[in-house]
């Protein structure tokens, strides 16, 4: 249609002005979409690290609060270990799911003769339960008291392989353990963080540290995924008395949801900051369109006098705004992928989360917002042009 043609030609003839207006939209789209990409990539990155613990309920001795900071009203800490009696209760509640008692301590150790003294976390777990909790990337599960499993970061940092030996204790007084297997990377975890740790048998841990069924925590692996129900059941069983709580129970899935929700809010916030640049671009579009209308008042008067309807005049200006919006947003969309790539590479040190549906949505969202802003900011000037009095417009010089 002729009005589409006129809109195109008007943009071409005012190429600098139109380009500057488009640039505003490009910047706005890049700001919104790249912030969205960064946020999504951040969530995906964290999700990679945390998703493996999404089916766990972690029970720790009551420490005066709900597993977080501060105290819980009038409650008092009565025990910093989980007794065997408590563990048996948890086990009964958790059945048929697996409840794994966990010992934990920090220990000095040496790798090889004459090496420096290092300190690492040592976990003691029942051998039979280890496969439920940990996967190996190399070697075999440890069943004996002279072996151990080590985390991948620990192995890498100290150049350890299956078969290597580690001397435990300040002076090697706690014996030597052979590396039987290397655990798969687990990243951040709510239950046990094994990447830089050693895992030994429950029996070795009890003998070495003189512990007797007083656990540091219990991990319940919930097969049906209803961790919330498990949390409630354990609390109901163990924290019967309101004035004397025994344990803190953490639902890893709920905690994950809270973390994702927080990341979501952060993403929304940074995207909204990007949106400010889009609003500025919208003001620029509005200004350009108003200039375009003012420059063409006489032409609008001629058009109206020879039979152009108001809606046709309006369409001409809306087309102009749409062209600026679509072209600017498309360029912005392409550039935001590049910007997202660069930001992900710089901030997260990985770009593997770039090409996802969430990021495609972020780009589409930025582009859509750019087009909508252009149309919205072009609407009033277009309406004003269409509703000019043809007689006044014809007189305009």
């Amino acid at each position: 249609m002729i009005f589409w043609e006129i809109a195109k030609r008007n943009i071409r003839i005012n190429v600098l002005r139109s380009s500057l207006a488009m640039l505003g939209i490009v910047i706005g789209v890049v700001a919104i979409a790249s912030m969205g990409i960064l946020g999504n990539s951040l969530v995906a990155s964290v999700s990679d690290s945390l998703s493996s613990v999404g089916d766990s309920v972690i029970v720790t001795p009551y420490s005066g609060g709900g597993g977080g900071f501060g105290g819980g009203g009038g409650s008092r800490s009565v025990n910093l270990k989980i007794t065997d009696q408590n563990f048996q209760q948890i086990k009964r509640v958790a059945a048929p799911n697996v409840a794994i008692p966990v010992y934990q301590t920090a220990e000095h150790m040496k790798i090889g003769v004459g090496s420096d003294d290092i300190v690492a976390v040592v976990y003691g777990l029942p051998s039979a339960d280890v496969p439920d909790l940990l996967k190996l990337q190399d070697g075999v599960y440890n069943n004996g008291n002279s072996g151990c499993l080590i985390g991948p970061t620990f192995a890498k940092d100290h150049n350890l392989k299956v078969g290597s030996r580690i001397t435990i204790g300040t002076n090697g007084d706690k014996g030597t353990l052979r590396v039987m297997g290397i655990i798969e990377e687990r990243g951040m975890s709510f239950d046990i963080s094994t990447d830089s740790a050693l895992v030994v048998t429950k029996e070795w841990f009890e003998n070495t540290y003189n512990r007797d069924a007083d656990y540091d925590e219990v991990v319940v692996k919930v097969k049906d995924g209803d961790t919330a129900a498990m949390k409630i059941a354990i609390e109901k069983q163990l924290n019967k008395r309101k004035d004397m709580k025994i344990v803190n129970v953490m639902d890893s899935k709920a905690t994950l949801a809270t973390i994702y929700s927080t990341f979501g809010m952060v993403t929304t916030f940074v995207t909204a900051i990007g949106g400010i640049s889009m609003v500025v671009a919208g003001v620029s579009i509005f200004n350009v369109m108003m200039m375009s209308v003012t420059e063409r008042i006489k032409k609008i008067g001629i058009m109206r006098s020879i039979g152009t309807q108001k809606k046709e005049v309006m369409s001409m200006f809306i087309y102009e705004a749409a062209i600026i919006g679509v072209v600017g947003s498309t360029i912005g969309g392409v550039m935001s992928i590049m910007a997202g790539y660069a930001i992900s590479a710089l901030v997260l040190n990985t770009t593997k989360h770039l090409f996802t549906i969430a990021n495609a949505f972020s780009v589409a969202e930025g582009m859509g917002f750019g087009i909508v802003i252009c149309l919205a900011c072009g609407f009033y000037p277009a309406w004003r042009a269409a509703n000019l009095n043809p007689i006044d417009a014809l007189r305009h010089e």
Binding site: M1, I2, K299, I302, S305, G307, Q309
Partner: protein, 225 residues
């Protein structure tokens, strides 16, 4: 010749309400334009010529009285209907040509056709009309700014004729042209009138008014002769 007059004014009054008080631009104006007439409207500045032109061109509606264009009363028409009436029944020719610089000559001429058909049109009709106003064919694809004043006015006349209007409404059509070019344009208008086109021309130039066959003189918002 069709019996029905192409334009009828009956006791037309036009009052502009202004903060300082109402201004009566036209007061009880009545006249009739028959098909095929060539009328000039003359009068001094402030006499109401422009108001009369706006009413004849359906750009405005009267405060009281009736205006009929080819038998259709315009007083109660909506903006959309008035716009369609301008597009289909009236051809406008302005003093300053008022062509669209973004469109070439053919596009300028066929613009009202496109408004009417709502789609791309065959440029052949535009070329035919341009030939009838004696514009050189090599200029058809040029832009208006590449043409002389006389050529631009011929294009404007072609644009006004493209939808076969009942009336050609001219506002000082030679006012921006030298006398020789102006005479050429008036010869063309005379020729169009001879072929049956009804022409109403507002002018203050008595020499130009001589081309018409009837003159309406207006003063202080009233027809005086």
């Amino acid at each position: 010749m069709d019996e029905q007059p192409v334009m009828v004014f009956k006791d037309v009054v036009k009052v502009y309400p202004l903060p300082a008080g109402d201004v009566t631009a036209l007061e009880g104006v009545s006249f009739q334009v028959d098909r095929g007439e060539f009328i000039s409207i003359m009068g001094p500045s402030g006499s109401g010529k422009s108001t009369l032109l706006n009413l004849m061109g359906c750009l405005d509606i009267p405060t009281t009285g009736d205006i009929y264009i080819s038998g259709t009363r315009i007083g109660d028409m909506s903006d959309v209907e008035l716009t369609n009436l301008r597009r289909d029944r009236i051809g406008f020719i302005f003093q300053y040509f008022n062509l669209f610089p973004l469109l070439n000559i053919i596009e300028n001429v066929t613009f009202p056709m496109m408004l009417k058909s709502q789609r791309a049109v065959d440029p052949e009709k535009g070329k035919e009309v341009l030939r009838s106003v004696q514009l050189e064919e090599k200029l058809f694809t040029h832009t208006p700014t590449e043409l002389s004043g006389g050529q631009q006015q011929r294009v404007a006349i072609a644009r006004a004729l493209i939808n076969d209007p009942d009336i050609l409404l001219c506002d000082e059509p030679t006012g921006n042209l030298d006398s020789k070019t102006g005479a050429g344009i008036m010869d063309l208008m005379t020729e169009l009138n001879k072929k049956g086109t009804t022409i109403i021309m507002v002018t203050h130039d008595p020499h130009i008014a001589e081309y018409s066959r009837r003159t309406i003189r207006i003063a202080d918002g009233r027809i005086v002769a």
